[in-house]
């Protein structure tokens, strides 16, 4: 496979669009993807598994008088394309008509010509990638009180994407991404407490991964929790570290998608222009953010990626739109280029790209802790997907972290407790936002500093 956006994929899309029209579609959009991935797991210095793969597929969306159908397949032969298009047309005939459902028009604005692939990506041999992953594991194992490391993972992907539609939408691009992550196990030894800690790094090339930092983070996170106990139930200041803040930001981003709002499944419906958060919070969706791995020249409908401020100084300023929700909203509302898709197997749907919590000014992590004196630091939450009610915004999730002394020092580790509130109250209760943001692959692709929530309920003993 070449590093250039495959002309072949564009040809596949072109054939699919005309085949779908032949099969009876009023309009058609074809999305083709060709990816090559490499992944490896390391355990105790040895390669546990090594996977090399190539994957190609086609997804076809068709419109017939306001009825939408979708089909996908891995067979890109002429016969495979024909069958997929026939499937999509048949699917559309089953759907009910929706007057807002028409094919997206191409944008007049040019798509970004930024590069989403890193040249150094292509210089790395599998051997070097394995060495990197082994180094990550070594660093973690050398950490204080680290007993073992569960598999250390390295994974990367080179993907080519093309899109074409009968309305004239067209585009193609190449993207690269690399990840490394591991879970370290710390132990007090001899039947004492054991704790795990996650370390991770990501970028558009293995060149950007810092093995020392990734391994050390896992070791430090695990060891810092040793001897954890259950805190007393109470209400207190809570600092969310960036990995935790990102998970919540991702949830909120989903609820600010116009699809959730229009279908009455968002606690933020009907709040446009109103204050919904503390005025120090600004939350932005940026589909072209340089550091964000969700960045691309255009969205799943070919709309040039852009920047949308969702919450500005605490005020709800916009929802995320694709072409359907924008049309449904009416009154000159345009797509914010937030049609996303999880590969060729799924039809486009509205969602965040890169979410960015604007950092505060001159507020280091240590300063946040001082402000949160007597409260708790949350370093991990679990059960987020089962613990948050996306309609009401209420949540209760499992948490681990550290107590914060009255003076703002990190004190005893704590686990087996819950934090509970609702997203709306939590947003209003934010009292400080740190100035040291970090990209986190949780909750989507999110850049956020640590966040201090003035008051939250802790459920422990």
């Amino acid at each position: 496979m070449s590093a250039e956006p495959g002309e072949e994929l564009e040809a596949v899309c072109e054939r699919a669009v005309s085949s779908a029209l032949d099969a009876g579609a009023g309009d058609a959009e074809a999305f083709a993807e060709d990816s090559r991935s490499f992944s490896a797991e390391i355990f105790e210095g040895q390669v546990e598994s090594l996977t090399e793969s190539g994957s190609r597929g086609l997804g076809v969306r068709v419109w017939i008088d306001g009825r939408v159908g979708y089909a996908f397949a891995t067979d890109l032969s002429d016969e495979g394309i024909r069958l997929t298009c026939a499937d999509a047309v048949e699917a559309a005939r089953v759907a009910d008509a929706d007057r807002f459902a028409t094919a997206p028009e191409p944008s007049n604005e040019p798509a970004s010509d930024a590069s989403f692939s890193e040249p150094s990506f292509f210089d790395w041999t599998p051997e070097r990638k394995l060495e990197l992953a082994k180094r990550v594991e070594q660093v973690a194992l050398a950490g204080d009180r680290i007993e073992a490391v569960e598999s250390t993972h390295y994974a990367d992907e080179l993907s080519n994407v093309a899109i074409r539609s009968s309305r004239g939408v067209e585009g193609a691009f190449t993207a690269t991404a690399s990840f490394a992550y591991l879970q370290a196990i710390a132990s007090e030894g001899d039947g004492g407490d054991r704790q795990t800690g996650l370390g991770f790094g990501m970028g558009r090339s293995p060149e950007t991964l810092d093995a020392e930092a990734i391994g050390a983070e896992a070791a430090e996170r695990a060891a810092s929790l040793l001897g954890a106990s259950k805190p007393a139930s109470r209400t207190c200041p809570v600092v969310l570290d960036p990995t935790v803040a990102a998970s919540f930001a991702g949830f909120i981003g989903g609820l600010l998608s116009a699809d959730s709002v229009q279908r009455g499944r968002s606690p933020f419906a009907g709040r446009l222009g109103e204050p919904i958060a503390a005025d120090l919070l600004t939350l932005v969706d940026d589909g072209a953010a340089p550091g964000g791995l969700a960045s691309a020249p255009f969205d799943a409908e070919g709309m040039p990626a852009g920047r949308t401020a969702l919450i500005e100084a605490g005020e709800l300023s916009a929802y995320l739109h694709d072409s359907y929700t924008a049309r449904r909203e009416g009154e000159g509302v345009r797509s914010t280029a937030n049609a996303g898709r999880a590969g060729f197997r799924s039809a486009p749907s509205v969602g965040p790209t890169n979410l960015i919590v604007e950092p505060g000014v001159d507020l280091r992590f240590e300063d946040l802790l001082v402000e949160a004196g007597g409260g708790v630091l949350i370093t991990d939450v679990s059960g987020l997907h089962s613990g948050v009610n996306p309609v009401s915004g209420q949540f209760s999730v499992g948490a681990t972290g550290r107590l914060i002394s009255a003076g703002g020092d990190l004190a005893d580790p704590i686990d087996e407790f819950t934090i509970a509130s609702d997203l709306q109250s939590m947003l209003r209760a934010i009292t400080s936002i740190g100035s040291e943001p970090r990209w986190v692959p949780f909750g989507g692709s999110v850049s956020t500093p640590a966040i201090l929530v003035g008051e939250m309920a802790i459920g422990g003993s």
Binding site: T51, E150, T196, R234, E416, G459
Partner: protein, 467 residues
């Protein structure tokens, strides 16, 4: 509907396996898959999201010592399979290994299908969703929204390996999910109900689909009247069916052999030990008729079986795939499963459950509790197998006061540690039900059955907002 032919002929499979072993390796495997899926949903009383998909591909694995080399390709043509074999063996540099000739094809025992969904028109499926929409909305004037989704997937696999295994399996899963939203003043609550099985369209016939919608609507309306959940430590009665996700998380994952072999499980080194009340019995059973996690063979071609996990309160065994079984010198328990041909098999549960008792009724379990919590259904759960810490989000829960189920509670989470919670189980009722779960592990999602009768835990932390 069962097709008796393997996805690739044995001669081709043998050639591919031999090619995969030409640079050495202890053994090699070819896994072929054909998947065809159809789904649609209804929302705002409009049928939408109609999607049909077709996947065809193969994965080749070469195992050398502790290392697995894996490659996968789309398509099952000889050239595709050769490409996968070459990619999987590229990193090896040794003497050719001679594979064993393939045995006669073993077919996984099929689940009888009455009505193949492929023979039911898409319009009929759309009508079914319209009926669900209507029924969920009829649950009360406070229902503001309803949505439902239907999906069917047929997955045929053929697996061959250099030890002579040659097996095919044919799985068909059908599932319906219904969600209702109810609102009163500022309160918004949801109800969710599913019905799914390794079964044909008959699963949803005779009012079964409508009953699922009724239950979703009822749950949403009930939760409107819910108070904030209590926070604190108390006896907890867990409901049947989806309540089994508790055992799935707190014990099932911990006895998957990969976690145990890495020492990353609280159950490591505890085989044969008393981990629960002597009356407790639990299984993983890939053969339970028609259940969601049921298959004829696993994704390594091993015929599925019932594996005891706990008997007489003692931990009896682990869940193995071929690689982890080989490491421990035992036979696979047919738990080698994978999401698709794009994934390596790893030890996974099938249908995992606490076996029902013979006499205790659910009412009796609840009757003994003076103040406690009744968790009827979970939105999901998560466990860290290394520490045993778990957390579950309760989607439908009630207070128990003086032996009676009283007020509904919202926003509850159950939190605890596996070993302690398992030991604290002091009652299992005589009812039994298995429900549909999607279990995520190592980036792979597979269908699993979760089940049990009502179970009581003498003491567990309930995390709620009412401090």
């Amino acid at each position: 509907m069962a097709s008796d032919d393997p996805l690739v002929p044995s001669e081709l499979a043998e050639r591919v396996i031999a090619r995969a072993l030409r640079n050495g390796g202890d053994w090699a495997e070819l896994f072929c898959e054909q998947r065809s899926s159809f789904g649609l949903s209804i929302d705002e009383s409009r049928v939408e999201g109609v999607t049909r998909g077709r996947d065809l591909g193969a994965g080749v694995r070469v195992v050398s010592g502790e290392t697995s080399y894996f490659a996968h390709v789309d398509g099952l043509a000889e050239a595709d399979l050769e490409r996968a074999a070459d990619a999987a063996s590229a990193a090896l540099s040794g003497e050719r290994t001679e594979p064993t000739a393939l045995s006669a094809l073993v077919r996984g025992e099929p689940q009888p299908i009455e009505t193949d969904p492929a023979d039911v028109t898409a319009d009929r499926k759309a009508d079914l969703l319209r009926a669900c929409d209507e029924r969920a909305r009829a649950a009360g004037a406070e229902i503001t929204q309803a949505s439902a989704s239907y999906s069917e997937a047929r997955r045929r696999i053929t697996v061959a390996n250099s030890l002579g295994t040659f097996a095919s399996d044919d799985r068909l899963r059908t599932r319906l999910g219904v969600q209702a939203v109810a609102a009163r003043d500022d309160r918004v609550e949801t109800g969710f109900e599913t019905r799914g099985a390794h079964r044909g369209f008959e699963l949803l016939a005779d009012g079964a689909a409508e009953a699922t919608a009724d239950a979703a609507g009822r749950a949403a309306v009930t939760m409107l009247g819910a108070d904030p959940a209590p926070a604190g430590t108390m006896p907890v009665v867990v409901g049947d069916g989806f309540g089994g996700v508790l055992f799935h998380e707190m014990t099932g994952h911990g006895v998957e052999a990969d976690h145990v072999q890495k020492g990353a499980s609280v159950y490591a080194g505890m085989i044969g030990e008393q981990v629960a009340d002597p009356s407790l019995v639990a299984y993983d059973d890939g053969r339970l008729p028609h259940e969601w996690g049921t298959e004829g063979t696993d994704d390594e071609g091993t015929p599925t079986q019932r594996t005891p996990i706990i008997e007489g309160g003692r931990l009896t065994g682990l869940l193995y795939d071929l690689i982890r079984a080989r490491k421990d010198g035992v036979a696979s328990t047919a738990n080698g499963r994978r999401q698709s041909f794009r994934h390596l098999p790893i030890p996974r549960m099938t249908n995992t459950y606490i076996a029902p008792s013979s006499d205790t009724t659910p009412a009796a379990l609840i009757g003994d509790v003076s103040r406690g919590f009744y968790a009827v259904s979970f939105a999901g759960g998560q466990v860290d197998p290394t520490t045993g810490d778990f957390v579950f989000g309760v989607s439908e829960g009630y207070l128990i006061e003086n032996g009676e189920v009283t007020r509904p509670c919202r926003g509850a989470t159950l939190i605890g540690n596996c070993l302690a919670a398992l030991r604290a189980i002091d009652g299992v009722a005589n009812d039994f039900d298995v429900r549909t779960g999607f279990c995520g592990k190592g980036g792979q999602s597979v269908p699993v059955g979760v089940g049990q009768g009502h179970v009581r835990i003498a003491e567990l932390t309930v995390g709620g907002t009412s401090v």
